[in-house]
């Protein structure tokens, strides 16, 4: 094969390049990479699973709140909100659970309540929904209050009211009438229905 020396040299170069690539490849493949089951679905780097597992948790869960706040005694969630996680309304409590001096965020706005309770056609019927606030107040009056003095003063107030915004100037928040931890019966929580604290 002396005549075809150039072909031989070419072949040597190619073989060396391939060997070099194979050597480099074996260094650069991540060590835990391999087949962990069916090749179509389970060919991956095993360390990635551990990395996924070790991501820190943000939402703590209601059981974590119950560690310190005994639900029946201090927080008393009854009624329709009984099964809802604390963090649904209070936001994630990671900071508070690590350092209890950090206060639990309390979103007192109308918007938080309306997020679930504003009337939408797509919502199922089993959740109480507010479509017309006038009607909502009047219904509450009819069904919620028994103190006649309070009732007549509120009645007068409502009949003079032109728009719901007038009401919300004095009672801007749902929680002025409703206790989010024991929703349903406003009478349970309102100490002074006619006490105008903001205005």
């Amino acid at each position: 094969m002396g005549r075809y020396r150039y072909i031989l040299r070419l072949c040597i170069i190619i073989v060396l390049a391939m060997a070099g690539f194979i050597a480099v490849r074996s260094f650069l493949i991540p060590p835990s990479f391999g087949l962990h089951g069916d090749y179509k679905y389970m060919y991956y780097r095993a360390d990635a699973l551990k990395e996924q597992e070790s991501i820190p948790v943000v939402y703590q869960g209601t059981e974590k709140c119950a560690d310190c706040h005994e639900m029946r005694k201090y927080v008393m969630i009854r009624g329709g909100h009984a099964d809802i996680a604390c963090e649904t309304c209070h936001g994630f409590l990671q900071a508070h659970s690590e350092d209890t001096k950090i206060r639990v965020p309390k979103d007192l706005s109308l918007q938080l309540c309306l997020r679930c309770h504003q009337y939408q056609e797509s919502r199922p019927d089993n959740i109480p929904q507010i479509q017309d606030f006038n009607l909502h107040i009047k219904w509450s009056l009819k069904h919620g209050f028994s103190n006649p003095e309070e009732l007549s003063m509120l009645n007068e107030f409502i009949s003079n009211m032109k728009e719901f915004s007038e009401f919300t100037r004095y009672y801007p928040l749902c929680i002025d009438c409703h206790n989010p931890h024991a929703p349903g019966n406003p009478k349970v929580t309102i100490p002074h229905i006619l006490k105008i604290t903001r205005g």
């Binding site: 179509k40 780097r45 699973l49 597992e53 869960g61 996680a85």
Partner: protein, 251 residues
């Protein structure tokens, strides 16, 4: 000297046939029976499942918000989202998902009388035979032993093939990490015995997560009591997220 045409065609034919056989070998893996690559039921390794109950969802969007916070999902991307369906009397279907439902749903007016209306939460279906995993060229996405489909962020090159492959729109390219990203069923929470963040914060119990290997799991009861369905069963991905009350309009 030209190679004889017949010889050439023979050689080319053999090369193509050989190449075709070689490529096909990877396809005819024994992934034909449902979830066959997972450990058999009754073993100690849990096999997870998820049920979405569209009868219960109230469209508050708290699940979307919680997922974003728990998993640090960037603004325009969604690991989970909620769709609102409004079907009018003339048969027109109006679907929307403002910001994925992250801030709730503002009221919407549609022309016509509304005949049917509901919410459908959506997330990665964690299919048993996911074609998104099949098409990853570098082995960066995979099915974990528990049946959770995950992405290896250190290995993904960001080619977006899996994003194109997913029939449910569950995947996206994370603009911060520049890799593929998707719902992980909060694997980091699940391995610590917690539930995914979206399941935790749902006020209406519209989302359920559990171990299909556990006969006492609420999921097993749902499968026997309710009529459940999966999205796009005809594609053969065998999604392991089931939907109670999946209406005909939902894609």
């Amino acid at each position: 000297m030209d190679i004889d045409r017949r010889q050439f065609l023979k050689q080319a034919g053999c090369t193509l046939l050989g190449g075709g056989v070689f490529i096909s070998i990877g396809q005819f893996s024994p992934g034909i029976a449902k979830a066959s690559q997972l450990p058999p039921l009754g073993t100690s390794t849990p096999v997870y499942g998820f049920v979405v109950n569209t009868f219960k969802c109230i469209g508050c969007g708290k699940c979307v918000e919680a997922c974003k916070i728990e998993n640090h999902v960037p603004v325009s991307c969604f690991r989970t989202w909620v769709e609102r369906y409004l079907v009018t009397a003339d048969g027109a279907v109006h679907v929307d998902s403002p910001d994925g439902g992250c801030n709730g749903f503002p009221p919407r007016d549609v022309p016509g009388i509304i005949k049917k209306a509901y919410f459908v939460p959506k997330l990665c279906n964690h299919c048993a035979r996911p074609n998104c995993v099949q098409v990853c060229p570098v082995g960066a996405t995979y099915v974990s032993p528990e049946g959770v489909v995950l992405v290896d962020e250190q290995h993904c090159v960001g080619c977006s093939y899996c994003v194109q492959a997913c029939p449910y729109g569950a995947r996206f390219i994370n603009p911060v990490k520049k890799t593929a990203d998707k719902c992980t069923w909060c694997y980091h929470r699940v391995k610590r015995g917690l539930t995914p963040a979206c399941v935790l914060v749902c006020p209406a119990k519209a989302r359920l997560f559990g171990n299909l290997n556990d006969p006492d799991s609420p999921l097993i009861k749902i499968f026997t009591k309710e009529r459940v369905n999966v999205l796009k069963p005809d594609l053969g991905n065998e999604p392991r997220t089931s939907y109670v009350g999946l209406a005909e309009e939902v894609r």
